[in-house]
């Protein structure tokens, strides 16, 4: 992707964030942080990353420890509190970047191959198994959408893609997948291509997806508005988003 395409993917991710959301951001996902801060700057809400909430721009400060954040955040949050906010659905959304995602939206961040003797053991899913069930909305993203990371069935279900419902408690599960090729949303449990990017076609996405896809009326993702682009540049002037997405 070119830097302009990276920006369009990040802006597309940000549009998945509901107005006024409280977004949790996990380790090692700077694109998710940029997209979350962009959405909450433009449409309200809060962002919690690394136990630090709503850091003043630019987002580089988020990565510098207390030396960088004292004076620029309204508070620090213990990890138990952060997970309690997930279980009580005070936190409402998170982006996750899996190693694999399948047609049911299941996420694998754990391992490839046999469970007991995997061919590749990843460092681990952190809260993937938790937040896919606890938060009202989870959106997955892939910097490089390929058949191999979108199989019919993941090798291991670290986090379920299914929506769950209990008394007074609803979770959409994995609601959408944003990639370098487009946007897939789960509608009534069916993965549906809803957006392509200006540099891709519906057929490109179908050809690059290992699971079956419903394709109907996919639109082209809108280019960043002037407000989105200028806010994006204020948030991330040193383009940390490129670390994950630029290829």
């Amino acid at each position: 992707m070119t830097p302009e395409q990276v920006d369009q993917v990040v802006v597309t991710m940000s549009r998945q964030v509901p107005d006024g959301a409280f977004v949790g951001v996990g380790l090692g996902t700077p694109s998710a942080l940029v997209a979350s801060v962009l959405a909450t700057r433009l449409r309200g809400g809060h962002v919690l990353a690394g136990g630090t909430i709503d850091v003043e721009l630019p987002i580089d400060r988020w990565f510098g420890g207390s030396d960088a954040t004292n004076g620029f955040t309204t508070g620090y949050v213990s990890h138990f509190t952060s997970m309690e906010w997930a279980e009580t659905q005070t936190m409402t959304m998170q982006f996750l970047r899996p190693a694999q995602i399948d047609g049911s939206g299941n996420l694998n961040t754990s391992r490839l191959g046999p469970v007991a003797t995997p061919t590749r053991r990843f460092p681990g899913g952190l809260a993937t198994g938790d937040v896919t069930q606890l938060l009202p909305k989870v959106v997955a993203y892939l910097p490089a959408h390929r058949q191999r990371n979108t199989p019919e069935k993941v090798d291991f279900v670290t986090g379920t893609g299914r929506s769950t419902e209990a008394s007074g408690y609803q979770s959409q599960g994995v609601a959408a997948l944003v990639t370098d090729l487009g946007v897939i949303e789960w509608r009534d449990g069916v993965p549906t291509l809803t957006e392509t990017h200006p540099w891709t076609t519906s057929q490109d996405v179908v050809n690059s997806t290992g699971f079956s896809l419903r394709v109907s009326d996919a639109r082209v993702s809108a280019t960043p508005t002037e407000s989105e682009q200028s806010t994006l540049d204020q948030i991330d002037p040193r383009r940390l988003r490129d670390r994950e997405l630029l290829r």
Partner: protein
């Protein structure tokens, strides 16, 4: 004052084969590496390691051959790379690889710290991670919802590194966001024996000047070791940052070189 000061080797000698050992700290922050290195040379076996976000501590002990199982929500060296000995042992099946989600692990530790037999949760009920564990499902007697009952996890030993302590066991951390102190505190309170290395032992008068930083108390702590740089190459604020060169070299070689 009842001093709990011990030498590194004496404290490491509190660990015996087959025990469940919690390793505190988070990835490249406040890992009790000097303690781990001493334990790794003690000829122990069948240790069952528990770490929330594990890294060098797990990897050194797995590399020493002392480990039977690893329970963690993450094992790696962050952006420095993978944990080489852990990955090799997990992929070959040489250790029992008990992967956890964050909340499944933390609630088990917290149940032990709270003194309750289990904590129910809605988290991860559909995750395949549950196949790796023997958790039982329960029905909420009030709503009828199905939940998982996470059993209290009593650890034999917890190994921590902190900024400073008094000799009697008041432990002070620099605090957030430089350290996930609450998890380490819960892990200590879930353990029978708590061993804490610190960069500096100070008088109680110094502890009293910043009582807001005291997170563990003499009733929680069994051994205090003064070990300046004891979490190197991971960081210990405010004293020192992570040693990026040493961590990068370890990820590539599996050897910690000073």
């Amino acid at each position: 004052m009842n001093s709990k000061l011990m030498a590194l080797e004496e404290a490491a000698g509190l660990v015996t084969p087959g025990q469940t050992i919690g390793i505190a700290g988070s990835i490249t922050t406040l890992k009790p590496i000097a303690l781990v290195e001493t334990i790794a040379t003690a000829g122990l076996s069948d240790l069952q390691l528990v770490s929330f976000t594990g890294s060098l501590g797990i990897d050194i002990l797995v590399g020493s051959g002392a480990v039977a199982s690893v329970a963690a929500a993450y094992v790696g060296l962050g952006h420095f790379g993978r944990a080489p000995h852990f990955v090799a042992a997990a992929e070959s099946g040489a250790i029992e690889d008990l992967e956890y989600s964050e909340w499944l692990m933390l609630q088990r530790i917290r149940a032990a710290a709270m003194g309750v037999p289990f904590i129910p949760t809605r988290a991860a009920t559909e995750s395949q991670l549950l196949e790796l564990h023997n958790f039982r499902r329960i029905t909420d007697p009030y709503s009828g919802d199905e939940l998982i009952a996470l059993p209290a996890w009593h650890l034999d030993v917890a190994l921590l590194h902190a900024w400073r302590a008094s000799a009697d066991g008041h432990i002070q951390f620099a605090g957030p966001p430089d350290h996930l102190w609450d998890i380490d505190v819960a892990m200590a309170r879930a353990a029978d024996t708590v061993i804490v290395s610190v960069d500096e032992v100070v008088e109680l008068d110094v502890i009293r000047q910043r009582p807001d930083l005291t997170q563990l108390f003499p009733v929680d702590v069994d051994a205090v070791i003064e070990q300046p740089g004891g979490s190197w190459p991971t960081s210990s604020r405010p004293g020192y940052d992570e040693d990026a060169d040493a961590l990068r070299a370890y990820a590539a070689s599996g050897v910690l070189t000073r």
